[in-house]
């Protein structure tokens, strides 16, 4: 397959929750992250994620380049690679996939043509409390042959565990986002673990 046109995406609960918690930790700025996983037949399995940045300097290359090299070096030993990109815009109602996000996504696409771009949908996230929904609170974009990122149908991606949103709500009420570490945090204090290995223990 040369495009993302036919594959489905299944995102593991931990990978999914990490990204949302990251966005919740930094409510007043844009955040982003990468998705790790592998292609399995016609399914892209997203098994992990790494939250990247939360500063207003998301559009700058140096921290991004270091992060991507380090992440690829670490995960390749597990047979995983970067299979997608996550972005949450600064403003609540902004559902546009901006140029910074697209550029980073294009870079990921070059190495993995079935890459997916996930954009946080704040309204869906806010509605979770009242409306128990199993679907991820994200918009999904894939790159078709026309070289542009197009929004895919919501059912193209599911969470591996159907209870993912329930667990997410749980963590939200306990303010679990305080424990999330991203690459920005790591660069400010290298003792902070961007793998978040202790997060769900």
């Amino acid at each position: 397959m040369s495009n993302g046109g036919e594959c489905r995406y299944v995102i593991g609960q931990n990978a999914y929750i990490k990204l949302i918690l990251h966005a919740l930790k930094h409510k007043t700025s844009a955040v982003n992250g990468v998705l790790l996983g592998r292609l399995s037949g016609d399914i892209v399995e997203i098994t992990d994620s790494v939250p990247l940045f939360h500063s207003s300097q998301i559009g700058l290359l140096p921290p991004l380049e270091i992060a991507l090299i380090m992440i690829e070096e670490y995960y390749s030993s597990q047979g995983l690679s970067i299979v997608g990109y996550f972005h949450a815009n600064e403003r609540f109602d902004d559902l546009e996939l901006g140029t910074v996000a697209k550029n980073i996504a294009d870079h990921v696409y070059r190495y993995f043509p079935q890459a997916a771009v996930l954009l946080l949908d704040n309204k869906k996230l806010g509605a979770l409390r009242n409306k128990k929904d199993k679907a991820p609170v994200l918009q999904i974009y894939t790159r078709d042959s026309s070289k542009s990122w197009k929004q895919a149908e919501a059912d193209r991606m599911t969470t591996k565990e159907p209870s993912a949103n329930i667990v997410l709500l749980d963590y939200t009420s306990s303010e679990k986002w305080n424990d999330i570490v991203d690459f920005d945090d790591h660069l400010d204090d290298i003792s902070k673990d961007w793998l978040n290995s202790e997060l769900f223990k």
């Binding site: 007043t28 921290p63 090299i69 380090m70 290298i190």
Partner: protein, 298 residues
């Protein structure tokens, strides 16, 4: 910009207050002094203080400052009723006050009544054309509405008058970066370095922008500014150390190794990183090693 000591002091106070150890007023005062945005905590603890009449009267004249601080935090958390109540108290105490008028306009902003807020700010500015805070609200409103180009416009007008406002220059630079207008962002950082040459963050941000623009000359200049950042921070700034390594790698690629580049400085940076990781992040030391190898630096 907050120093590391101030950051840890804040964290300590925050933990103390969160765990019922008292010190709410000290915490709130520190947040105010450092101009930080901790609205959910400020709202929670500020409101507790205000609702306790004994503690409130113990504050004396500071009581009104607290009302203002809580009102603004409430607006940020969309607790508009709390904000309204605080503003009402202030209105009663300080009738016809411009400062309270500002809060009223901010309430309109929080409600999304943009046109009314704009009218309120304009009339406040008529009497007080040099009010920095109100001028800044215009920028904030434009940003909140998604009118980024409008925000740039207002910010540039603001800087024509208040050209020594470093935070505003940084804000403008950050907006330019978010729009990938890197050359304009570079100009802002140049202004900041001219005004505040000893602040390493400006050097670092400038280097990051130059690297992002790319091209041999920019990479070489970026390398110089990563070096100055390292100098100004006593070699402790990880981002600058990485930046230096990236520059060397990129310059090597662009010149295809023809340039007898000063490999010594990037070698030093790489060594400094390895030493730091071994000490403070040992489980990531091998990933660092392979990263530096990928950059052809060890």
């Amino acid at each position: 910009m907050v120093s590391k000591t101030e950051e840890s002091q804040l964290q300590q106070l925050e933990n103390q207050v969160e765990n019922g150890g008292g010190g709410a007023w000290e915490y709130l005062s520190l947040v105010r002094k450092l101009k930080l945005r901790r609205s959910d905590k400020v709202l929670k603890h500020g409101l507790t203080l205000l609702n306790d009449s004994k503690q409130r009267s113990a504050l004396g004249a500071d009581e009104w400052t607290l009302y203002e601080q809580v009102a603004i935090a409430a607006l940020d958390c969309q607790s508009l009723d709390v904000a309204k109540d605080c503003i009402k108290v202030l209105q009663k105490k300080f009738q016809d006050s411009k400062r309270v008028g500002r809060l009223e306009a901010m309430l309109l902003e929080a409600k999304g009544s943009w046109a009314e807020a704009e009218k309120a700010y304009s009339s406040l500015l008529e009497d007080n054309p040099l009010d920095q805070v109100i001028s800044m609200r215009r920028v904030a409103m434009a940003k909140a509405r998604g009118d980024i180009l409008g925000a740039i416009d207002w910010l540039n007008k603001y800087l024509e008058i208040f050209m020594a406002d470093h935070d505003a220059w940084r804000e403008l630079a950050e907006i330019y970066v978010s729009l990938q207008m890197y050359k304009q962002a570079a100009f802002c950082y140049e202004e900041l370095i001219l005004c505040q040459p000893m602040i390493p963050l400006h050097h670092l941000a400038y280097a990051d922008v130059l690297y992002t623009i790319g091209g041999l000359e920019n990479l070489q200049t970026a390398k110089k500014y990563y070096a100055s950042t390292i100098e100004l921070t006593g070699g402790k700034n990880i981002r600058a150390l990485f930046g230096l390594c990236l520059c060397s790698s990129a310059i090597g690629q662009v010149t295809k190794g023809r340039n007898s580049e000063d490999k010594e400085i990037s070698g030093l940076a790489a060594a400094a990183l390895e030493k730091d990781y071994k000490k403070n992040s040992p489980d990531k030391a091998s990933v660092l090693g392979s990263t530096l190898k990928a950059l052809k630096l060890n």
